[in-house]
């Protein structure tokens, strides 16, 4: 009972630390459930309240599982698994009478720690992981030594971890990685972010308030001007009267656009759980993990569930190749009976214009000259959304302009489609790379020009040139973003906050570039650098061998330093005692292995009374040096001297 009492609090602390990163992800009732159970256990050991019996515990378990089934009935994903772990972790501390229960509860805490790592891989999470492991290990020490102090537990835990880290690094780099996935399973439940296949009025507006990073880009040379930073991701070419859809079946393509001014850069894409890749318009090449489609977008074969790095080259001035007739026909298709006034308007204002440029210019002029406004909170639109926008509200966000413009182009038989992606990005001054956030989401239009191919036309640029040159924040009207940043006295604070955030982003980015990018390919490259190359299996075996040798060396070094002969100061004592025994052995009375020093003394004294005095002195000194505290350096000197002078003559025969 006492042992239980001493370990209850630490074990619950370990569980709380382990489960903390999941706080926002677990259903509220599970959080409450954990809080109530743990609170009761802590209070019950404080105030000696009764612990629930076996039957009651079973009832609680059944209630918990029923709750889980109810909550996660629709699909059993990793959140359900996590919920199960949490429900178990809440109940497990009720039964901690035995050492076994306590050990298993701590193992459960370790297991919860790893689940938090599968949800995000940031530097912060790694640091938190190290802290959780330190706490959990300290608790494990506590369980195995209930009488100890917390401080001592933590000290030892930190010591063990610091000794383990070199081994961990070695394992991390050399443990053979495999290509791709083991079972082909992937986490499917993580929330998708960014663009979806459907572009409805307001769907980009929703992204604008999201500050999350979409991807980061480092350029080989200078960063191109903001007005050229159109990150192409997805093409919407079907319009149903209200929403734009990405085409289901786009053909793969192997003809790349031609162009000038190639820009080379590397994108670090955050996982968004869709398949599209974002590249600067227009891609000048492709890379192995990506497939190029005929609408000049790049996609991966699988949803992107991990951070992904890819090196790309794009032409900022380009001319796309010829387009097949079917695509062009599809790009002018509009549903019947929607937006009749907008159709009429398009026809009216372009009468007399002959070229594509001229027609497009007329429509853009219409937006420019009719007091259209750029706003994050446009009024709701009715069934004829384009009509409502053009003739009634005249307030909208980029998707309203792109949608209206593409609609009007199609209405006058110019092939047009909406392109989704990001525009611009924030340059991080500390490390010279570009951060593109969800709030930089943007849609624009491309129209077909018989000679030049697909040409980018951005109607938003006409209404709000600041959006293109200065980014989203500058283009909004006052009061459109949360108040906090607009108040004057928060400006400075906001500035500092911004700087800290950018600084942290540098650290995080450098780390993930180094750490998260480490995979099969990088490992192969590393192994080749240190001279291990050849077939895949062979290289793995050699890496494994190297790993075992190096790990053995580290462990061996630890063992050497900590398990050396237990007492060094006794080396001299042992040496001289051994010499004394050798000398005595010449008299015919060798020390038997099972004889302690005193036994040996008595044995020799019995047979050689003449030596009794000297032997007693030496043995006495030896025992004092070896087994007693009071022995001094003088004793050692005396011992050595006596052994040196000791000269037992062989037995005299009378």
């Amino acid at each position: 009972m006492n042992e239980q009492h001493k370990t209850v609090f630490p074990i619950i602390a370990a569980l709380v630390v382990a489960i903390f990163p999941h706080t926002g992800r677990l259903p509220l009732w599970i959080m409450l459930w954990c809080g109530i159970m743990w609170g009761y256990i802590l209070l019950s050991s404080r105030f000696k309240w009764p612990r629930p019996g076996k039957t009651f515990r079973r009832v609680l378990t059944i209630i918990g599982i029923a709750g889980l089934l109810f909550t996660f009935s629709r699909r059993l994903d990793q959140n359900a698994f996590l919920g199960l772990l949490a429900v178990m972790a809440a109940l497990k501390p009720f039964e901690m009478e035995t050492h076994r229960d306590r050990m298993i509860t701590v193992f459960l805490a370790y297991f919860i720690v790893i689940t938090s790592l599968f949800l995000s891989e940031t530097l912060l999470i790694m640091i938190y992981m190290l802290i959780s492991v330190c706490v959990t290990t300290a608790v494990l020490i506590r369980i195995n030594d209930p009488g100890s102090r917390f401080k001592a537990n933590f000290k030892l835990s930190a010591l063990i971890m610091s000794q383990a880290i070199p081994l961990m690094v070695l394992l991390f780099f050399l443990f053979p990685r495999i290509e791709g996935s083991f079972f082909g399973l992937r986490f499917s439940g993580a929330a998708k972010s960014g663009f979806s296949e459907i572009l409805a009025p307001g769907s980009v507006g929703m992204l604008v308030e999201n500050d999350a990073v979409a991807f980061r880009v480092t350029f080989e040379d200078e960063i191109p001007p903001a007005s050229l930073l159109y990150w192409r991701g997805i093409v919407f070419s079907d319009f149903d009267g209200r929403r734009w859809h990405a085409q289901r079946h786009v053909q793969e393509n192997d003809t790349l656009p031609e162009g000038r001014d190639p820009v080379s850069y590397t994108v670090m894409l955050e996982p968004h759980h869709y398949r599209w890749l974002f590249v600067l318009e227009m891609p000048a090449k492709t890379f192995p993990q990506a497939v190029l489609f005929s609408d000049y977008t790049l996609r991966t074969p699988y949803p992107i569930s991990r951070k992904m790095r890819y090196a790309m080259t794009s032409y900022t001035r380009y001319r796309t190749g010829p387009e097949n007739g079917r695509t062009l026909a599809e790009s002018t298709r509009l549903p019947e009976n929607v937006n009749p006034r907008a159709r009429q308007l398009a026809a009216d204002i372009t009468t007399g214009a002959t070229t594509v440029e001229e027609k497009a210019g007329r429509v853009l002029d219409f937006f420019r000259n009719n007091e259209f406004a750029y706003t994050l909170s446009p009024p709701r639109l009715g069934r004829h959304s384009v009509d409502d926008f053009i003739f009634a509200s005249r307030r909208g966000y980029c998707e309203h302009y792109a949608s209206a413009f593409a609609f009007m182009m199609r209405a006058i038989d110019i092939p047009a489609r909406v392109v989704g992606g990001y525009l611009g990005g924030e340059v991080n001054p500390y490390a010279d790379y570009l951060i593109v956030r969800q709030s930089d989401a943007h849609v624009w239009v491309e129209i077909w020009h018989p000679e030049n191919g697909w040409m980018r036309t951005d109607p938003t640029a006409v209404v709000s040139p600041e959006r293109i040159s200065d980014g989203m924040r500058a283009s909004l009207m006052p009061g459109e973003l949360p108040d906090f940043f607009d108040r004057k006295y928060f400006r400075n604070l906001s500035d500092i906050f911004q700087r800290v955030r950018l600084g942290w982003d540098v650290v995080n980015t450098q780390w993930s570039a180094f750490f998260e990018g480490y995979s099969y390919d990088v490992q192969r490259a590393l192994l080749e650098k240190i001279g291990i190359r050849s077939g895949a299996l062979d290289a793995s075996l050699k890496a494994m061998l190297l790993l075992v040798v190096l790990a053995g060396m580290i462990i061996g070094a630890y063992a050497w330093f900590s398990l050396r002969s237990p007492r060094r100061k006794s080396d001299a004592i042992e040496k001289y005692y051994a010499r004394y025994c050798e000398k005595l052995a010449t008299t015919g009375f060798a020390r038997k292995p099972d004889q302690g020093p005193i036994d040996y003394m008595q044995y020799v004294s019995k047979n050689r009374p003449d030596l009794q005095n000297k032997i007693a002195q030496i043995t006495d000194l030896y025992v004092r040096l070896r087994y007693r505290d009071q022995a001094s350096a003088a004793d050692l000197a005396k011992f050595v001297e006596k052994v040196r002078k000791f000269d037992p003559a062989p037995v005299k025969r009378f």
């Binding site: 891989e121 492991v133 195995n144 100890s148 495999i178 986490f187 099972d594 036994d599 087994y627 505290d629």
Partner: protein, 314 residues
């Protein structure tokens, strides 16, 4: 007839002479069941990390794996270098619990949660501070008279993480003398100077007659110390009783009216105790051995030892 608690002969097994140091040759280490369970959990975590290609997952698995390996060294280190200096045990009566007192010591480091296990079930968990002699008490039931010689001492630890268990087996020549269990009954003596069965009454009478003081000698009963004179600062004296002189009894094995040897010995032990408590002078006659009448603690022990060892081969 139950055989006396006979020790296996000491020569038949190899014993370790004390003092000894737990060195690398005698300390073994293996994972515990929890260690194997933990490795299984780590393996599951590794499969998960490989499957999701999660580098942080790899990092955690490798960290925990390395911690496991490092903890093995710590566990081994917790045992290595402990010195077992000596062991002693006071004689006990059969049916009571023998207390083995081990004196242990650690020169190099503090040891935590070191277990001392005898006869597989009797154990103590101790911390050993650096540089001081620590006493470890192990209680073992002593059911039968004779010599209690526990087979072996296991010193073990699974500190700090419980994933490994290091242990060593020591067979020190540790013995505890077990006196026969006293069996209450009438006081019978034979062959004493009185020669009759009423010796007990005779002794009783004698106890009452205070005759004088003599200087205290070690072995004299504490109950007979003259505290009055001690309090006056005259020194330590023992009260003498007139009945002591010349009134001695002989406790005879053959005079016991029991068929069972153990019964006889138990009765004799009881009478030795009674005679000792009454400060009588008594002797003991066993087949093949006679102890002359005497008194005092030393004599009491000699008599009880003779009873304990009767017909027991060393």
């Amino acid at each position: 007839m139950r055989k006396p608690f006979g020790p296996k002969t000491a020569a038949a097994r190899k014993t370790d002479s004390l003092p000894l140091i737990l060195n690398r040759h005698r300390v073994y280490i293996l994972p515990t069941a929890y260690g194997f369970l933990f490795l299984a959990i780590l393996f599951a975590m590794l499969l998960g990390s490989i499957n999701y290609n999660n580098n942080l997952g790899f990092l955690l698995v490798f960290l925990l794996g390395s911690i496991t390996l490092v903890s093995m060294i710590h566990t081994y280190q917790n045992l290595l270098g402990i010195e077992i200096l000596s062991v002693s045990a006071e004689p006990v009566f059969a049916g009571k619990t023998a207390l083995f007192r081990f004196l242990v010591r650690s020169e190099s480091r503090h040891r935590r949660a070191v277990g001392f296990l005898m006869e597989k079930e009797h154990q103590a968990i101790e911390n050993i501070s650096v540089g001081t002699d620590e006493t470890v008490n192990l209680k073992i039931p002593a059911p039968f008279r004779g010599i209690l010689r526990p087979e072996r001492l296991i010193v073990w630890t699974r500190y700090p993480l419980g994933l490994f268990r290091a242990w060593t087996v020591i067979s020190p020549d540790i013995v505890c003398l077990v006196y026969p269990k006293p069996l209450a009954g009438p006081f019978q003596s034979a062959g004493g100077q009185d020669g009759d069965a009423s010796g007990l009454n005779h002794i009783k009478r004698g106890v009452d007659d205070f005759s004088g003081l003599k200087p205290y000698q070690p072995g004299d009963s504490v109950g007979k110390i003259s505290w009055k004179s001690f309090a006056r600062g005259l020194g330590v004296f023992t009260k003498e009783f007139s009945g002591n002189k010349g009134a001695s009894v002989m406790l005879d094995y053959d005079a016991m009216g029991y068929a069972n040897r153990e019964h006889k010995l138990s009765r004799l032990a009881d009478m030795v105790l009674k005679a000792h408590n009454m400060n009588a002078e008594y002797g003991l006659r066993l087949p093949g051995r006679t102890i002359a009448p005497d008194k005092g603690e030393r004599h009491r022990h000699a008599c009880l030892k003779a009873l304990a060892m009767f017909d027991v081969s060393m």
